[in-house]
Amino acid sequence: MELVLLILVPLAFAILIALRPAQESKFHAVIGTLLAAGIGVNALGRFDWGSPASMQLAAAWDWLPAIGLRLSVGVDSVSMMLIALTLLLGPICVFCSFTAIQRQERTYYSWLLVLQAAMTGVFASRDIVMFYTCFEFTLVPMYVLISLFGSTNRKAAATKFFLYTFTGSVITLAGLIYIAWFNATQLESVGIETAGRWTFDIGALELAAQAMPANVQGWLLLAMMCGFAIKIPLFPVHTWLPLAHTEAPTAGSVVLAGVLLKLGTYGMFRFVLPFLPAAVVEHAPLIATLSIIGILYGGLICWVQTDVKKLVAYSSVAHLGFCILGLASLNTIGITGSILYMINHGLSTGALFLLIGMVYERYHTRSMKELGGLAAKMPVWATFMIFFTMASVGLPGLNGFISEFMCLLGAFQAGDAWGALPGGTGGDLGFWYALVAGLGMIIAAMYLLYMVGRVVWGPLVLPPGHDDHGHGDHSHGPLPTDLCEREIFVLLPLAILCLVLGLFPGPVIKALEPPVNNIVETIEAAGRRPASPGGAHAMATSERETAVADATAAGGDK
C-alpha cells in the first residue's frame, strides 16, 4: 500500500493546491512532499533488506483487463533507492522555490507534485503500460514547468524537450508491445505461466523476451534504446538536454538532473538488460563506445562554456556516460556502480543546480564572465559549491568517486585483457574502454575546477549594477547576500548524504548487488563468453548456446 500512497498523496495534494488560494500553495506543497517522504521512510523500514532482489510491497489491481492491463506496483532494492532519491528531492525542490517563484504559485507547486507522483510511479510500476504511462506523464509537468517558469528561450526548450522524448518513447512502446504480442501468441508451449494471453506484467514479459531469437532482440534493443537513450541522454541524441536545463527553473533542473535522467538508465536496467540479454551482449561495445564519446565530448564542451548552468548541464551528459558504461560492462561491479552513480549524480548535480539557482536569484546572471571571486561575498555558498564540485569531480571520500571507479572497473574487467585473473568477468570491453573513459575523469576535473576557480576564487567580479561592497544591494529582494537558513537547510541533507555515501558505501552496494546479480546471471546464461572455462551457466542449454553462436557468427560476418 505504501507505494500506492506514494503516488496518490502527491497527486491529492496537487489537486488540493490547485483548488486552494495561492497563498496556501507553499504550505500544502511542503506538507504534501514531507508526508510523501514520511511514507517513504516507512516504506524503507518495511522493505526487507535481507532479500533485496525480490519484489516487495507489491500490490495490484485490474485496470483494463480486456487488454491485459493491471495497475501493479512492487519494488526491489534498486527501485526503492531511486524512489527514496525522488522523495528526498521532492521537499528540496519545494523549499528552493520559495523566493524564486513569485507568480502562478498554484500552477507551479501542483505540477511539481504531479511530477513527483509520476516519477515515483515509474520506479514502482510492475506493469509495462503503467511504467510507460508514468514515464510519459513526466513530460507534461516538466513541459509546464519549463515553459511557464523558465528563462528567455523557454518555449522552444520545452517544446524540444517534449517532442524529443515523446518521439523516442513511442518507438520504445512499439518494442514493448511487440514483446507482449510475442508472449501472447508465440510462446504457448515453453512453460512460461503467463504465455498465451495478453499481459504487460514486467516479470512475465522478461521471460518471454529472453526466449526471443537474438536477431529479434537486436531490433528490440534498437527500439527500446530510441526512448531510453534520448532520456538519458546518450551521445548523439543529447541535444535537448542543455537547452532544457538552461531554460528550466532551478527546481526543474534539479528534478531533471536528479531523477528524470535516471528514468532512462533505470529503463535500461529494468528492461534492456534483463529483457534482451543476447542482444545486449552483442551490442555492448557499441553502447559503451557511444557512452565514451558522450563522456569525452560532453566534457570538452563543458570546458568552453561560459554559462555555469550550461556547463553543469553538459557535465550531466558526461556523467551519465559513465553510468551507461557501467551498465554496458554487464558485470556485477559495473552495473552496481552504475546504479550507485544514478543516486550520487542525483545528489551532487542536483545540489550544483541548486547552488547556481541561488546565485542566479541574487545576481540574475549565470555567465562566468560576470561572476567571480564569490567566496569573498558568499563564504557559505562557496563552501557548499566547492564541496559539491568535489563530489561531482570524484574526489575520494565523497560519493562520486566510488561509483565512478566502479563503473570504470567494471568496464576494465569486462574484457579479455583481464582474462582469468580474479575479478575478470569476460566480455567485449576491456582495458582501452576503461582507459579512454578514464580520460573523461581528468577532463571533468579540469572543467569543474576551472569553473570553481573562476566563480569562487579569483578577483571579485559582479554583474554591472551590483554594489561591489555587498551592502545596500536592493536587487537581492528578500535574500541576504550569503545563503539564508532555508537555503542551507536545503543543501545540508544533500551534503550529508554525499559524505555518508562516500565514506560508507558498503551497505548500499550490498543491497544493490542481489538484483544486479540476477541480471548478470541472465546475461551470462544468454551467452557472454565466460571468464574461465566451464564458468557458471545456470540456465544455459546446448541449444541456446548453438543459437547464440549462430547469431554471433552472423553478427561477425557483418
Binding site: A66, I67, F162, T185, Q186, E188
Partner: protein, 548 residues
C-alpha cells in the same frame, strides 16, 4: 422484409423523432421551438437503448450492428447538444424584439431534422447487408450534411464550403457507386453474403477487384483519407464549429462501418506470407497500406502548418482516419475474439474514443465567440482567441486541454488506449512497419496538439477584447459530458473494450477458413489456441529451441 423490422427499430425511432422535430421546430412559441434539441436528444437516447437491447444484425458482422448504432446515437446526443444555437439566432432575437414570427424564415426544424437524418443514415450503414442498401445509407448520411454546412453560418464561406463539399461528395459517391456496380458485375449479386460466397468459391476476379478498389477509394471520401481528403480543411473551416464536429464524426463513422463491411465481404483470410494467411488480398492490403501511411502523414504534416485551430483539427481528423486504417488492414485477427489481436475491434473502439475527444475539443471552440466588426457574434478562429482559456473559462479550457492531450495519445488518457489497441492489432497482424509509421506520426501529432493544449493552459490571455462564452449552455454541457467520459473511460473503460471486442466478430469469413469455427461473441482468445496456424507453429518451435 418484415423480419428486418425489429433490426431497424433504432432507425425508426430516430426517424419518428425527425418527424416530430420537423413540426415542433415551426411552432410560433419560442420555448417549444427551443425544445427541438432536447427532443432529438431524447429520441437518440431511446434509439441507443433499443439498439443495445435489440437483435444482432444479419450481415457479416452481426454483433457490430447494435454496437455501432448505439455508438452513433450516443455520440449523436452530444452532437445534438453541441449544435444548440447554431441556426436561428438572429431570427429569435428579432422575434424577441417584437417582430412577427415567420415560419418561413426559421431554420431550426430543418436543421435538427437534417442532423437526425444524417445520424439515421449512419446507423443504417451499420445494418447494411446489401450494396444498394449501403449506397443509400451512405448517401442518406452525406446529403443532409451538405445542407448543414451551408446553413450553419450566414457567411459566404459556409456557402462556398457547402458547394465544395457537395461536388466533391458527389464525385466520391460516383466513384464508389461505380465500384459497387463492378462488384455486382464481377460476382452477380448485390447481397454481401452472396458476394462473399462467390469470392470464396471462385476467387477474386479482376472486375471484382477493380470494383473493390474503386469502392474503397470512393468511401475514402467519407473518412477523409488521401487521395479524397482535399475538401476537408476548407469545409471544416467554413462550417460552424458544432457542425464541423458533426462532420468529423458522423460521415467518418459511416465510412468506416462501410469499409469494414466491404472488407468483410472479401475477408481477412487470404493466403499470404503476412500474418500466416490472415490478411487481405495482397492488392487490397497494398492499397490500404499506402492510403493509411499517406493519410496519417499528410494529415499530420499539414496540421503542423495551420494557424487556425479548426483547420488544424480538420487535418488531424485526416490523420486519425489514417490511424484507424491500420486496424482495417490488421483485420479481425486469427484469434477472433481478443481485442488486442482484433483490428476491427480496435477501429470500433477508436471511433468511440475519437467521437468523444472530438466533441470535447470542438465544444471548447463552439463554446466561445467574439464580437465581429459589425457587432454580430462570430466564431473564434485563431489560436490567439484560445490563449489563457484555462484561466478565463476553466471548464472549457480544461476540456480542450484534456481532449487534445487525449487526441495526442498521452497515457493514461482514453486516446492512448485506443492507439494501443491499434498498435497491438497491427503488430499481431505482422504490420510492423506500418505500426512504426503510426508511432512516428503520433509523435508528429504531439507537436500541434501540444500547441493547442499549451495555448489554453500556459499562455496569458492577450490584451484587448476577450472572447466571451457563447450564450448556449448546452454546448458547454456537451463538452463537459465528453470530458467526464474521456477521463472516466480512461480508468473504467473495460466495458467499452469488451463491447467493441464482442462487436467485431466476423461471421462469414471465419467459416470458410479450414480449421476455423465461427467465433462467438464473448469467447476468449485462449479457447482458440488450437486453431491451425502454420506460422505460429513455426515461431513456437523457434521459441522452444531458444528458450527451452
Amino acid at each position: 422484409m418484415s423480419e428486418k423490422l425489429p433490426l431497424l427499430i433504432p432507425e425508426i425511432i430516430v426517424f419518428l423523432t425527425t418527424c416530430i422535430v420537423m413540426v415542433v421546430g415551426l411552432s410560433p412559441n419560442l420555448a417549444v421551438r427551443r425544445s427541438c434539441g432536447l427532443l432529438s436528444a431524447i429520441g437518440l437516447v431511446f434509439a441507443a437503448i433499443f439498439a443495445v437491447n435489440g437483435p444482432a444484425g444479419d450481415g457479416l458482422l452481426p454483433a457490430m450492428t447494435p454496437y455501432a448504432k448505439a455508438l452513433i446515437a450516443l455520440v449523436g446526443v452530444l452532437l445534438v447538444l453541441l449544435v444548440a444555437g447554431t441556426v436561428d439566432r438572429e431570427e429569435d432575437a428579432r422575434v424577441a424584439r417584437g417582430g412577427v414570427f415567420d415560419a418561413l424564415r426559421t431554420n431550426r426544424a430543418e436543421f435538427y431534422s437534417f442532423i437526425l437524418f444524417s445520424l439515421t443514415g449512419a446507423m443504417l450503414c451499420a445494418s447494411a447487408t446489401d450494396l444498394i442498401w449501403l449506397f443509400l445509407a451512405l448517401e442518406l448520411t452525406s446529403l443532409p450534411t451538405y445542407v448543414l454546412v451551408t446553413m450553419s453560418t450566414r457567411g459566404t464561406r459556409s456557402q462556398e464550403a457547402g458547394v465544395k463539399y457537395f461536388f466533391l461528395g458527389a464525385l466520391g459517391a460516383a466513384v464508389f457507386l461505380y465500384g459497387f456496380a463492378l462488384i455486382y458485375g464481377g460476382t452477380g449479386s448485390t447481397k454481401f453474403v452472396d458476394i462473399s460466397a462467390a469470392i470464396a468459391d471462385h476467387g477474386m476476379n479482376p472486375i471484382t477487384l477493380a470494383g473493390m478498389i474503386l469502392a474503397i477509394i470512393g468511401v475514402s471520401f467519407k473518412i477523409a483519407a488521401v487521395p479524397m481528403h482535399f475538401y476537408t480543411a476548407d469545409v471544416y473551416q467554413g462550417a460552424a464549429a458544432p457542425v464541423t464536429a458533426f462532420l468529423a464524426f458522423v460521415p467518418k463513422t459511416a465510412g468506416f462501418l462501410s469499409l469494414i463491411l466491404l472488407l468483410a465481404i472479401v475477408g481477412w483470410d487470404h493466403g499470404s506470407v503476412i500474418a500466416a494467411g490472415h490478411a487481405l488480398p495482397s492488392e487490397l492490403r497494398l492499397l490500404l497500406w499506402v492510403v493509411a501511411a499517406l493519410t496519417m502523414t499528410v494529415g499530420n504534416v499539414l496540421a503542423l502548418l495551420q494557424s487556425s485551430p479548426k483547420r488544424m483539427l480538420a487535418y488531424s481528423s485526416i490523420a486519425h482516419s489514417g490511424y484507424m486504417l491500420v486496424g482495417l488492414i490488421a483485420g479481425p485477427g486469427a484469434y477472433g475474439a481478443s481485442i488486442s489481436h482484433n483490428g476491427i475491434a480496435a477501429v470500433l473502439f477508436y471511433l468511440a474514443a475519437y467521437g468523444l475527444m472530438n466533441v470535447g475539443a470542438f465544444a471548447a471552440l463552439a463554446g466561445l465567440e467574439r464580437r465581429g466588426r459589425d457587432g454580430r457574434p462570430v466564431e473564434i478562429d485563431s489560436f490567439d482567441d484560445l490563449r489563457g482559456l484555462c484561466a478565463t473559462h476553466p471548464m472549457l479550457g480544461w476540456t480542450l486541454v484534456v481532449c487534445s492531450l487525449s487526441l495526442l495519445g498521452l497515457p493514461p488518457l482514453l486516446g492512448f488506449f485506443s492507439k494501443l489497441t491499434l498498435f497491438t492489432s497491427g503488430i499481431a497482424a505482422g504490420e510492423i512497419v506500418l505500426v512504426i509509421v503510426l508511432g512516428i506520426n503520433s509523435a508528429v501529432a504531439a507537436f500541434y496538439y501540444l500547441r493547442l493544449a499549451g495555448v489554453a493552459m500556459l499562455e496569458d490571455a492577450t490584451d484587448g477584447p476577450q472572447p466571451g462564452l457563447a450564450p448556449f449552455p448546452a454546448r458547454a454541457i456537451s463538452g463537459l459530458i465528453a470530458l467526464v467520459l474521456v477521463v472516466s473511460l480512461s480508468f473504467f473503460g473495460n466495458g467499452l473494450l469488451n463491447a467493441s471486442r464482442n462487436a467485431a466478430v466476423v461471421e462469414g469469413s471465419g467459416v470458410r477458413a479450414p480449421g476455423h469455427t465461427p467465433q462467438q461473441p464473448g469467447q476468449h482468445a485462449d479457447e482458440h489456441k488450437d486453431a491451425s496456424d502454420p506460422a505460429k507453429d513455426a515461431s513456437t518451435s523457434v521459441a522452444q529451441r531458444v528458450g527451452a
